[in-house]
Amino acid sequence: MVDPGWYMALAGTLFFIGAVGLLLRRNALVMFMCIELMLNAVNLTLITAGRALNDLNGQVAVFFVLVVAAAEVVVGLAIIVAIFRVRASASVDELSELRG
């Protein structure tokens, strides 16, 4: 029987990796994958906590996070594609006209 703490820790680590990745990669797509990573970590947390608390709501919540993730994917990719159409690049570093 594995202590829930380990699951939580794993989730936390994944979340952390995702966050760092988001900041280090400049390809919009990969950045976006990192966000998915973070959301997955959240899901793991929810399930683990729910289990430890003998509460199903954790699992239910995961559904909604999933849906949100899906919706984000749709719009996000749409934006990325749209941009790519114009400047044939997915690097966010090239989008830095607005500043100051």
Binding site: M8, F15, G18, A19, L22, A28, M31, F32, I35, M38, L39, A41, V42, T45, L46, T48, A49, G50, A52, L53, D55, N57, G58, A61, F64, V65, V67, V68, A71, E72, V75, G76, A78, I79, I80, A82, I83, V86, V92, L95, S96, E97, L98, R99, G100
Partner: protein, 482 residues
Amino acid sequence: MVTPEINWLAILPELFLALGAAAVLLVDVQWKPRTLVLGAVAAASVAAAVVASGAQWLEASGATDASGLVAFSGLVVMDGFAIFGRFALLAVTTFGLLSGWRYFESLGRRGAEALALVLLATAGFSIMVASNNLVMMFLGLEAGSIALYVLAGMSRERARSDEAAIKYFLLGSFASAIFIYGVALLYAGTGQFGLLEMRDFLSDFVVLSPAVILIGLGLVVVGLGFKVSAAPFHTWAPDVYQGAPAGVVGYLASVAKVAGFVALARILLTGLDALGADWRPIVAGIAALSMMLGSILALVQDDVRRMLAYSGVAHAGFIMTGVVGGTTEGILFYLAIYSLQLVGAFAVVTAVSGADTSASDLASYRGLARRSPLLAASFAVLLLGMAGLPVTSGFIAKFGVFAQAWSQGFEWLVIVAVIASVIAFAFYLRIIVSMYMDAGDEGTVDVPIPVRWVLVFAVGTTILWGVLPGSLLSLAADAFPL
């Protein structure tokens, strides 16, 4: 076998908005009518939503015990706080649509989608302000935000609009992830998603090692701090305000602030009220940083929209001061009047620099007082209102939040706040200077009729509630969360 408890009244407004959106899309597909028709449909749905909220208001004010106002097994509530917030949202939506009307027309066929997205976003945020459950809140938040990402990216001025969209989207999703992780941790700590339940839990049990709860709290605050563009989570605001099409910026900016703050206040003042001693200093810190950073940065801007964005950061700080103060009347009043002023200000921007552009250089306001005295005058009033000078509602609002923060023992925060507001005077006055005191090019500015309505209302309320704040203040005072 349990059955879901349904309370239609509780979600009627959102329902109307969503239906309105659907109607717009379908009508558009079916008959391809003039945008005006779609506008009428949208207006109808908003009006219906207003009526529904009114019904809720009656229900809420008539309610003898709180339980009647909790719907859908605690997912949403119909308390005054939610209703007041929703009214603010609807007002902002109405005026946002009016002031951006030209833009929606200019979109041609895509006007339908834009309109639908606006309605849907409002629906999403309206769920957010009403939701008493963190996951529900998250859904509303996401619904609204995603719609806003798209709206930000729907401009002809591709380059800047794209940039605004992608920045807003990436940072927004990042913030959402952080927010929901915070929710997850709160759940881990308290075992609850529902705010009321969470409050009971925290008041009933003493958590021996509350670290996880605190972390969750922090992440939630950060996530919402992003939505309301509080420093240091404000970085998206200037770029988006400047890059997004002028026609929707006013809506986009204020609707996010209203929803974000109502949600934040609800979480902190109901769910985590017990932890006030923990979060008050943090929120105060964020508030101070936002006010100072916002004012100072706005001082050095040459683009009106960026200026307004940074001033928005400062205002986020002021409202946060109200959150520290902890009485809803300050927060809600401030939110209401500020969001109106903001929409009004952007209405002016659209009138001056065109609806679908990101050109809003300060220079283009030179001598506006000669070209269009009324426009200049109303802009001046709105700016002075934001600056918080007496006889405008802004002063009452600032005074309210200051007084409450002071009575909570945050004297230092109030000192910072007043100094920040003095710095803020400087850049509001800069705009007034170029409108009134610089000789500018001749010619006249034609102000679209709907924009005029917006201005009349915004300016009118700014002055009215500056002189006789009682009416709105008492409403706000009664609109406390359950």
